[in-house]
Each structure stands twice: as C-alpha cells, then as structure tokens.
C-alpha cells in the first residue's frame, strides 16, 4: 500500500515536472503573423538584411515583453526566392495558420496577390513601395513613401536646385519591369501637370557590362540629370563607367556633365560597396534613417543589431532598418488594438492601422496612417554620397505626387 502511494506520488511529481518544463515561458497570447520574402535568389541582397531586421525586432518584442501580459508574436519568415507562385503558396499556408498581418515583399508578388488581400481582408505590409499596390486597395499599408514619390521628389529637387533659366534635361534609367516603369509614368504625369523638367530619354537597362554608348548618347542630347529607379548593380556599373569617361558632375548640376540620382533600392551602403568612389556625389531619396547619420535612431538600430549578433554590413544596411520598420508597424498595430480594449483579430487590427501613428527609430519621420492615407512615412531624406557614406542633405516631401494622385 505504501509503495502504491509512493508510486502515485512519484507519478504526480513527474507530471508536474513535465508540465512545468513543457509549458511555454509566456502565459500570454501568441499573435501569429507571416512573412514571405527573398532571403535567397534575385534581390536577396535587399531581402536578406530586411528579414534580419524583422526577425530581430520580433525577438526583441518577445524578450522584453513589449506587448505586455506576456503576449508574444510568432512570425515565421519564409524564403520565397522572389518567385510569385511560392509567395502565393506561403500566403495561403499562412492564412490556414490564421495570421493577423501578412508581411510581403516584391512588387510582382504583391500585384499578383492584390485582389486576394482585398478578398480575404488581411492587412499587408509590403517591402515593395510600388505606388500601384495602394491604388484601389484598402488592405495594403505602405511603410514609407512610394517609389513614385521618390522619383517625383528627385525631379522636384532637380527643379529646385538647377541653375540657369533652361528646363533641366533629365533621363530615366529604369528596371525593365512594372517595378521600374511605375515611377516613370507618375513622373511623366507630374510633368504633364506642370513639373518643370524635360524627360529626354528613358533607358531600360539590361545586363550591361559597358554603358559607354548610353552615357555618351545622353551627354550628346544635353542630359544633365539621370534619375535611376532599379537595383544597385546596374547603377553601380553605370556610375563606374561614368567615372571612367569623366562625365560625372563634380558638383550638383554641373553643366556638360551628368548628375546621378536614385530612388530607394538604388542606393545605400551596398551601392558604395559595389561602385566605390564612383558613387561620390550620387543623390539618393529614401525614407529611412541611416546609421551614418549617427543620431539616436541610428544608435538604437545598431544596438538591436549588436544584441542579436549581426555583422556590420547587416547592421548598417537601410534594408535592415526597413525590416525593423515593417515589424514595428505590425507590432504597434497589435499593441494599439490591445490598448483600445478590442479583440486582436484581423478586422480590429485593420481598424487600428487606419489611425496608427508612432515614431520609429528606423525611419526618417513618423508613421502616420489615416482612413484615406495608406503611406506610413511620408517624409523622405535626400542623401548625398560623400566620403564613402551617404549623408543627409535635407528632408523632403513631394508636392507634385499629391497632384498626380488627385489626378488619378
């Protein structure tokens, strides 16, 4: 009898121990999100640090009980290798898992799933800032200013800084895809609405080893400014060729030379890594706060990267900051929904996101959504490459992009 009691006692003890060690450390709620992006494959030079930024932020949230009550975020990050069909499959799997917000990536994948997002009514935070993603769409919440906003802003910046009475002659150097063409079309609309530039030529690049012919042609046509909207590698090759040919402007708008400018994915530390000194003088529009600014925001980004053992390259990448911001938007949406005393589900998160307003250390300005506004950070910084880093010249908000949007 005694041994039977001891047996039962021991069994209970074992059960208690097993439960004690198998129960999650957090007794709170787990909020499920899903992220699909190119960690490998095309554009993974951007996607990889982006994923690291998001992953680190979610780890930080969970470790510091940022949401309170022991609540945590579970956000699996999956590598779609820039393949739209894989993104779609992941999205469907995430839906089956009951995610609250989808963190997506490429322009193509988002355009392909745009209708699905509306049908399923799921808030989406993309890494693509293609203007078309928020046209006739309610559920896509753009983290920062769109590529179109970048391009139009750069054109406005050119108009503002151009010396002389003539109309500045501009060429566009773009990616041969919807990603590249969208901002061009919006800039052309801005021109038709009165923006004072002359778009002399549009170059859709290929896999070029030498841009001599193109650069000399642009010069012969009197082009002074080249606005780029593509990824870093072709821009790097072009800048290197321009340096070799001696056609790069030494100062902004130098007559007879070319001043190069570019949108979000054309610039950053990766461009400097690829093109070296040829990057000097490159003007870049971006809504992220760079670590080279050495301000409070930059320090916080570097601290986060250090906490999770990231190398310098990832820590200083603006794409790492972009990943952090996307994760922060999702986190704040959950936090604010909780704070409002609402049940944390897709419907209420969607409602919360429409009035979400907070300051992120990774961004150039505050995140401000409204029921009619789907762009988080409207402010852009205009940076210039100088001494091997990008330095802020000024903040910028486009006037013409509002006119373009109103004209749609």
């Amino acid at each position: 009898m005694k041994s039977k009691t001891a047996l039962i006692f021991n069994a209970l003890l074992v059960i208690v121990f097993v439960f004690a060690f198998t129960l999650p450390a957090s007794a709170g709620t787990t909020y499920k999100l899903g992220m699909s992006l190119a960690i490998t494959g095309p554009t993974s030079d951007a996607g990889n640090p982006y994923a690291k930024g998001a992953e680190d932020w979610f780890k930080f949230v969970n470790e510091t009980d940022y949401l309170g009550d022991g609540d945590i975020i579970d956000c699996p990050i999956r590598d779609d290798q820039y393949k739209n069909d894989t993104t779609k499959r992941f999205f469907e799997e995430f839906l089956d898992d009951g995610i609250l917000i989808f963190l997506s990536y490429a322009t193509g994948g988002n355009l392909a799933l745009k209708r699905d997002f509306e049908e399923v009514q799921i808030p989406v935070i993309p890494a693509s800032y293609h203007e078309g993603l928020i046209v006739d769409a309610n559920y896509t919440f753009m983290p920062v200013a769109t590529y179109s906003e970048n391009a139009v802003s750069l054109a406005e910046y050119v108009v503002g800084k151009h010396e002389g009475t003539d109309t500045p002659k501009v060429a566009f150097f773009i990616h041969p895809s919807a990603f590249g063409r969208g901002p061009l079309e919006d800039t052309q609309k801005a021109v038709s609405l009165g923006l004072g530039i002359d778009i002399v030529e549009v170059v859709e690049h290929g896999t070029d080893l030498d841009n001599t012919a193109m650069l000399q042609r642009l010069e012969s046509k009197g082009v002074q400014y080249v606005i780029c909207h593509t990824v870093q590698t072709p821009v790097a090759t072009m800048l290197t060729d321009a340096q070799r040919l001696g056609v790069t402007a030494a100062t902004f708008g130098e007559k007879g030379k070319l001043t190069f400018l570019g949108a979000h994915y054309t610039g950053g530390s990766d461009l400097i890594a690829l093109a070296g000194t040829a990057t000097e003088g490159y003007i870049w529009a971006d809504s992220y706060n760079l670590t080279s600014e050495n301000n409070e925001g930059a320090k916080k980004q570097l601290e986060l990267a250090e906490r999770y053992g990231r190398d310098d390259k990832a820590a200083n990448s603006h794409n790492y900051g972009a990943g952090i911001l996307a994760a922060q938007i999702a986190t704040e949406a959950i936090k604010e929904t909780k704070k409002a005393g609402l049940k944390v589900n897709r419907e209420n998160i969607y409602k919360t996101m429409q009035t979400l307003n907070f300051q992120s250390f990774a961004a150039a300005g505050p995140v401000t959504y409204s029921p009619t506004e789907r762009i988080g950070v409207d402010v852009q910084n205009i940076y210039v490459a100088e001494g091997g880093v990008f330095k802020k010249i000024q903040s910028f908000e486009s006037q013409y992009i509002q006119k373009v949007r109103a004209d749609r």
Partner: protein
C-alpha cells in the same frame, strides 16, 4: 568620329569578355556534346573564391586569381567525376538535365554563404584613371580584362592545336569510338574538358566581377547571357566563340549608341544581338564556325 571609335572599343571589350565566358561552354560541348547549364554558377564561384582569398585571407589578388582558376579547375573536374562520368554513353538530354540539376545544387550551396545574398567588390588594384587615346577611353579594368581574355584564348587555341592532350580532346569530339579505338581515354578527356572549362569560367567571373561588382545573381546570369554567343559562333568552335563574342559586343554597343533613344526605340542593345543571331542562323544553322555534320543513313 571619336564617338564611333569609342563604341567600337566598348564593343570589343564587352565582346571579348563574352568570348571568355562562352569559352567554357564551348570546351565542354566540344568534347562531350553537352550544353552545361551550370556554367554561370561556376563563373560566380570563381569570382567569389578570388574575393574570399583576397579580402578574407589577404592573399595578393594576382595569386588569388590564379588560385581560384586552379580551384575551379579541380572543382569542375570533380563534378565531372562524381556526377557526369557515369552518364557517358547515356542520351545527351539526360546529361543536360543533370547540368540543370547541378545548377540548382550550386545555387543552393552558394545561398548558404553570404555570397548568395550580399554585394561585394574587389579591392582596387588597378589605376582608377582611364587610358584616353584620341578621345577614346578605356579603363584599366577593361584593358586588363581584354588582355587576360586574349592570352587565355591564345593558350587554349595552342593547347587544342599543338598539345597531345588537346589533340586527343579534338579526336574525342570528332568521334568517340574512333578515339577510343586508338587508345584515347574518353573519360579522362571529358574530365579535362570540364576542368579547363572551370578554369576559364573562373577567369571570366573575376573579370566580370571586377566590372559589375560581385553579386551572385548578376554573375551567374552570364552563363545564360553568353548562350547566343556560343550558338552564333558554333557550339564547338573556340574561334567561333571569339568572333561571335566580339560581333555580339559590337552589335550591342552600336544598337545602344545609335538606335536607342532615337526613332522611339529603346532597349535595342539587348534585342538586336538576338535578331542578328536569328538572321545568321537562317543561313548558317550550325553557327558561323560550327561543324556541319552530315550523317550517312
């Protein structure tokens, strides 16, 4: 006029780099009649090995360059030994499918390293100023690239024409059974063909990487970009690869220089080489220098 000559120089520069990148495809096809779809990955591997040795291990770039050629020589030889040797005598399509599979495996392996998703560049080791003659400019990177290309192509041409091993490789290319009957080891020739292809791919990777920067997607794309060069020149002709490479480079630059931006045209630099390729193939289906095989049935 200097504009015209600048385009000629740029065309020759681009074309000769195409020729070097195409050489590996020709070498493999010449001996084994196989189109190697993993060639771009070997080009990328060569560039990254050089970068790793130079930047991470501090080896002088010249020695890194030679070492990477040596490493890819043995890498490609191993690939042939492990995966392709047992396919000798099997239908060519099976072997081609294996090379496609190999491309995926190489992709996966490179994606496991930082080289799969980050951008890098070689340290500057050549003067950054251009050489300008009569208003025509060429960078040291391009000049050195062209010189290395022609030296390597010269070496390969000599190797195939004069050396015993090279002649054996040509014999195998002409007639495997005939070559075997005179005592040539066909498997050994296949291994050597793959190895030399690996060597030339590494050289091409380093030169391309020095021009475009080191980005895996950009580098391995050249394995496909040079296919039209190989087809135009003739799949089994080294001379064909050189001539076709330069033709392609010139067409690309002239189209970009004179057609793009005029007559409402754009992107002709990418399209024109293919249009010319199709026209030439209408008249010479085996390429400019390819062997026209006639079989008696």
């Amino acid at each position: 006029m200097s504009y015209f000559f600048q385009i000629v120089v740029s065309g020759i520069v681009v074309g000769s780099i195409y020729a070097l990148a195409a050489l590996g495809l020709v070498l493999v096809y010449k001996s084994s009649r196989v189109a190697n779809f993993a060639h771009g990955q070997i080009i990328a591997a060569g560039a990254f090995i050089t970068f790793f040795l130079t930047v991470r291990l501090g080896v002088p770039i010249f020695f890194s360059f030679l070492a990477s050629m040596l490493i890819t020589f043995f890498l490609a030889m191993s690939v042939e030994r492990i995966f392709l040797r047992r396919l000798i005598g099997e239908p060519i399509i099976s072997v081609i499918m294996v090379t496609i599979g190999l491309a995926s495996i190489f992709d996966g392996l490179i994606y496991l390293t930082p080289f799969g998703s980050e951008n890098f560049s070689f340290p500057t080791f050549l003067p950054t100023e251009s050489i300008v003659v009569g208003g025509v400019s060429i960078s040291w990177t391009q000049l050195v690239g062209v010189i290395i290309t022609f030296v390597l192509i010269g070496c390969f041409s000599w190797f195939f024409k004069k050396s015993t091993v090279g002649i054996s490789m040509r014999a195998v290319s002409d007639d495997q059974f005939g070559a075997m009957s005179v005592g040539i080891s066909v498997p050994r020739v296949f291994a050597l063909a793959w190895a030399t292809a690996g060597l030339s791919a590494a050289a091409a990777g380093c030169i391309i990487g020095n021009i475009t920067g080191l980005n895996f997607e950009t580098l391995h794309a050249f394995g496909i970009v040079v296919f039209p060069v190989v087809i135009l020149g003739g799949l089994d002709s080294i001379l064909g690869a050189v001539v076709a490479g330069i033709i392609m480079g010139l067409i690309q630059q002239f189209a970009s220089g004179y057609l793009d931006g005029n007559f409402g045209l754009n992107g002709t630099g990418d399209v024109m080489p293919y249009i010319i390729l199709l026209i030439i193939l209408l008249f010479k289906p085996h390429g400019l220098f390819g062997i026209h095989e006639i079989e008696r049935v």
